[in-house]
């Protein structure tokens, strides 16, 4: 089969993959049947919805690709702006690191649907030989991240070509960017595969539960790593730059060993005629990484092939010792169900690590200051609150097709909103705790400011309720947009959190009194919570 034909055919498989992941969420549309006002509408045109879903998926992919290009170019910006402390080595290394993290994170989200052998079920029935089958499957896999990978490679290569005007440096950058993309995709594939295997394990053993927890933490680490990457320009690079400049020969050589600094050093050396042991070490390391990339690429190809053929899947069957079930009451029952379902869904599991991420970011923000200023507490708190607002939407996504069953149960929409709002509010709680601990270590500019993060618990709970209710309102009308575009709900939620923060700032700017500001903030937060409860009680 010709490559062009295989690429064209892979479009069908890719569309099936995209559609399946959307169809999973389609259950969310049928949020009706919780009473007359929300009874489901089935008058939708499935074909039109499918086309629209695919258009939106394509648009999303495009937006992510543009973002990836921007983040890959951002580290080079300081060179154009003439920043003295930000050399080519740092810019290249940082650009590679950021695109690695972002590509891996995005690929994990999309590859979870690829992991299902059903994605290639369409092809299995066709009279194709194994090689053609594998080629088409591989191409449909590549389509999951093609725009973003090509975009980041091109932007890095063009920038290095422009900055160095050296064909050798450009070629090395092309090779390095490609290696970087291979690493990122391989890591994402490994994570997705691991998750899938873990999910299929079954059984009630504690080891499995711990393994699942460990896995969620690993996802969290990846997310935290990306969070770190975004803080690099402010915290890590300045230190790194001075370290590189001031380090001795041995330390420089060690830097040369590390990916992606080895690449940065080799490319810079190729245009500045530097010859040192560091360059030698970096060159050897880069060769090693190239070999590793070849291995990672081959492993990815084999894995894609195995996944598409449905081989390599082990399903453990552990005989149940008893058939006991626990009736815990609707609220706890729903909370536990939500936690289990969301933590076993690759696309939503990492949201549970938000508390870790929030805490790390806040500590990072505060670690550079001797005093915990109120403004810093406000910023850290707002960030934590905004992060927590991703969770209600993730929990709604995780419901998937299972919701078809849930709506046959005697449960009101309020019963569904409350557990999700509770879980998302709980993920915010580490923020005030982390700040309270920090306040024991560092003095606060205004002692009463420590109450701010605790007061924000109310807006976070309110925003979660509003987000879910807003979703239910649009979904009950059968709008596909409610499934595919969560942006408006998130924006509304963020606004709810920020109103109380703005109230604090506004009162402080007029009275210069922290206690008055705190009272105003508390009043607004309480009013928002009251409004949320009122909305919650309405059908």
């Amino acid at each position: 089969m010709k490559l062009g034909e295989a690429w064209r055919l892979s479009r069908t498989c890719y569309r099936e993959m995209v559609y399946r992941s959307l169809a999973e969420e389609r259950g969310r549309m049928w949020w009706g049947a919780f009473g007359r006002s929300q009874q489901g509408k089935e008058s939708q045109d499935d074909l039109e919805l499918t086309k629209r879903a695919l258009r939106i998926a394509k648009f999303d992919k495009g937006v992510v690709a543009v973002f990836n290009v921007i983040v890959s170019m951002a580290p080079f910006a300081s060179l154009f702006l003439g920043s003295p402390g930000f050399g080519l080595t740092s810019a290249i290394s940082l650009s590679l690191a950021v695109t690695f993290g972002f590509t891996a994170l995005y690929s994990i989200q999309t590859l979870s649907s690829f992991m299902s052998p059903e994605s290639s079920a369409l092809l299995l029935a066709m009279p194709l030989n194994r090689d053609d089958f594998s080629l088409i499957t591989l191409f449909s896999f590549i389509r999951s991240f093609d725009y973003m990978v090509v975009g980041s490679i091109l932007s890095q290569v063009v920038l290095v070509a422009y900055l160095t005007a050296s064909p050798i440096a450009t070629l090395i950058m092309l090779a390095a960017s490609t290696m970087n993309a291979v690493f990122a995709v391989a890591v994402a594939l490994w994570f997705s595969r691991f998750f899938q295997k873990n999910m299929l394990l079954g059984g009630r053993s504690k080891a499995n539960s711990i393994l699942r927890l460990f896995f969620i933490l690993m996802w969290g680490l990846l997310l935290v790593a990306v969070g770190f990457l975004f803080t690099i320009p402010w915290y890590i690079i300045p230190n790194l730059q001075s370290t590189l400049l001031g380090a001795g020969q041995v330390w420089n050589s060690l830097w040369g060993l590390l990916y992606p600094f080895s690449t940065g050093i080799v490319i810079t050396a190729s245009v500045s005629s530097i010859t040192s042991s560091t360059l030698l070490v970096a060159s050897v390391a880069m060769l090693g990484y190239a070999l590793l990339a070849v291995f990672a690429g081959k492993w990815s190809l084999v894995t894609v092939k195995r996944v598409s053929q449905g081989s390599g899947v082990n399903i453990a069957r552990v005989a149940a010792q008893d058939f006991s079930v626990k009736s815990r009451g609707p609220l706890l029952g729903y909370v536990l169900k939500d936690l289990k379902v969301a933590s076993r869904n690759p696309a939503t599991a990492f949201f549970f690590t938000l508390p870790v991420l929030e805490t790390v970011i806040i500590i990072l923000l505060d670690s550079n200051f001797g005093v915990l200023r109120t403004a810093l507490v406000l910023v850290g708190t707002s960030m934590g609150g905004v992060f927590a607002l991703f969770l209600p939407l993730a929990l709604l996504s995780a419901e998937g097709k299972g919701l078809e069953y849930t709506k046959t149960l005697p449960i009101s929409s309020r019963r569904i909103v409350v557990p999700k709002a509770l879980v998302s509010t709980a993920t915010y709680v580490p923020v005030p705790l982390a700040l309270a601990i920090l306040s024991l270590l560092k003095p606060l500019s205004a002692p009463s400011a420590i109450l701010i993060p605790f007061l924000i618990i109310m807006p976070v709970a309110s925003a979660s309720i509003f987000e879910i209710k807003l979703f239910l309102r649009t979904a009950a009308k059968g709008k596909m947009a409610s499934v595919l575009n969560d942006f408006e709900k998130l924006t509304f939620g963020v606004a709810v959190v920020l109103v109380s923060v703005v109230a604090y700032a506004a009162v402080f700017l007029t009275t210069f009194n922290h206690d008055f500001s705190l009272l105003a903030m508390g009043g607004v937060a309480f009013a928002e919570l009251a409004a949320a409860f009122y909305v919650l009680r309405r059908p």
Binding site: G27, G32, A33, F34, G35, R36, Q39, G40, E42, S43, M199, L200, G202, G203, R204, I315, A316, R317, V318, A319, A320, D322, F323, S324, V325, K326, S327, R328, G329, P330, L332, G333, Y334, L336, K337, K340, V341, R344, N345, G400, K401, G402, E404, Y405, T406, K407, T408, L409, P410, I411, S412, R415
Partner: protein
């Protein structure tokens, strides 16, 4: 199991547990249901029989309150599902045509969830679940993710969930889908026990033999209309030709001649090459 028929809050034993009158459901210009009137009494297993797309699932979903009727009314245990959705759903055990349940949960997790929402008594629930799970040979699958189970196993999980609160009304939409012979037999017996206890069952199927074996009364639904109902003998009487339920069904739906003609054409097409 407790005496399900006597657990009802409203309605005496002689009143129908499921009742619809003039039930019509329109999707755009298409009538999925048209003036459907049916009553299922305590102790009855009412078979809703019809070809694919006849309106069986729509009838069940409307009774359950998942779809709003365009016109007509419904009562389940004397209650309107649109006005009292929670109360009605708490009195119904439902099995969908395709068991769509949370794939990432195990049957145990799923039954934990269902029993929690339905606020069932733990001791009674455990006893019931243990008996049903044993009967369905579920030991190997009870802690496996539902995603890894076969269609039949998923159907068994959905069936156990439908019995978990011992409801007075069972709405079973093609409940034998994917089940092996042994499990099918168990389900048929269970449905019989439920009716003996005073419960009502609305059993949708397109398989004549199943309806003939299980149901005490049969309603034939065709193009959204309930065109005939009664016991098998009463239906035979209506067509004045006797025979099996399949023959009665084809006569009632005026499809007997159409099927004969279709088969003649298919036979010609199938053996065309051999004739040459």
């Amino acid at each position: 199991m407790s005496d399900v028929g006597l657990q009802r809050k409203s309605g005496s034993v002689s009143e129908p547990l499921i009742e619809t009158s003039g039930l019509t459901k329109q999707f755009g210009s298409f009538y999925a249901l048209s003036d459907v009137n049916l009553r299922v009494m305590p102790g009855e297993i009412y078979g809703l029989l019809g070809p694919n797309g006849a309106g069986k699932t729509t009838t069940i979903k409307t009774i359950l309150g998942l779809l709003e009727p365009t016109s007509g009314w419904i009562k389940v245990v004397g209650l309107d599902p649109a006005k009292y959705p929670i109360e009605v759903k708490s009195k119904i055990g439902y099995v969908a045509e395709n068991p769509i349940i949370y794939d990432s949960l195990s049957p145990r997790d799923f039954l934990d969830f269902v029993s929690s929402i339905r606020k069932t008594d733990s001791i009674a629930t455990n006893e019931l679940v243990a008996r049903l799970a044993n009967a369905f040979d579920m030991a190997q699958y009870f802690d496996s993710p539902i995603a890894t189970l076969s269609l039949g196993m998923k159907q068994k999980v959905a069936l156990i969930a439908s019995f978990i609160h011992q409801p007075p009304v069972l709405l079973l939409d093609e409940p034998l889908n994917g089940l092996d012979a042994k499990s099918s037999r168990i389900v048929k017996e269970l449905v019989g026990f439920h009716a003996q206890k005073g419960g009502a069952v609305l059993f949708s199927t397109h398989i004549m033999e199943v309806a003939q074996q299980v149901c005490t009364r049969i309603g034939i639904i065709y193009q959204g209309k309930l065109i005939a109902e009664g016991t098998l003998d009463q239906l035979r009487g209506k067509t004045q030709g006797g025979g099996t339920l399949e023959e009665v069904f084809l006569r009632l739906t005026n499809e007997e001649d159409e099927v004969a003609e279709t088969m003649r054409m298919l036979r010609e097409a199938f053996f065309k090459n051999e004739a040459r």
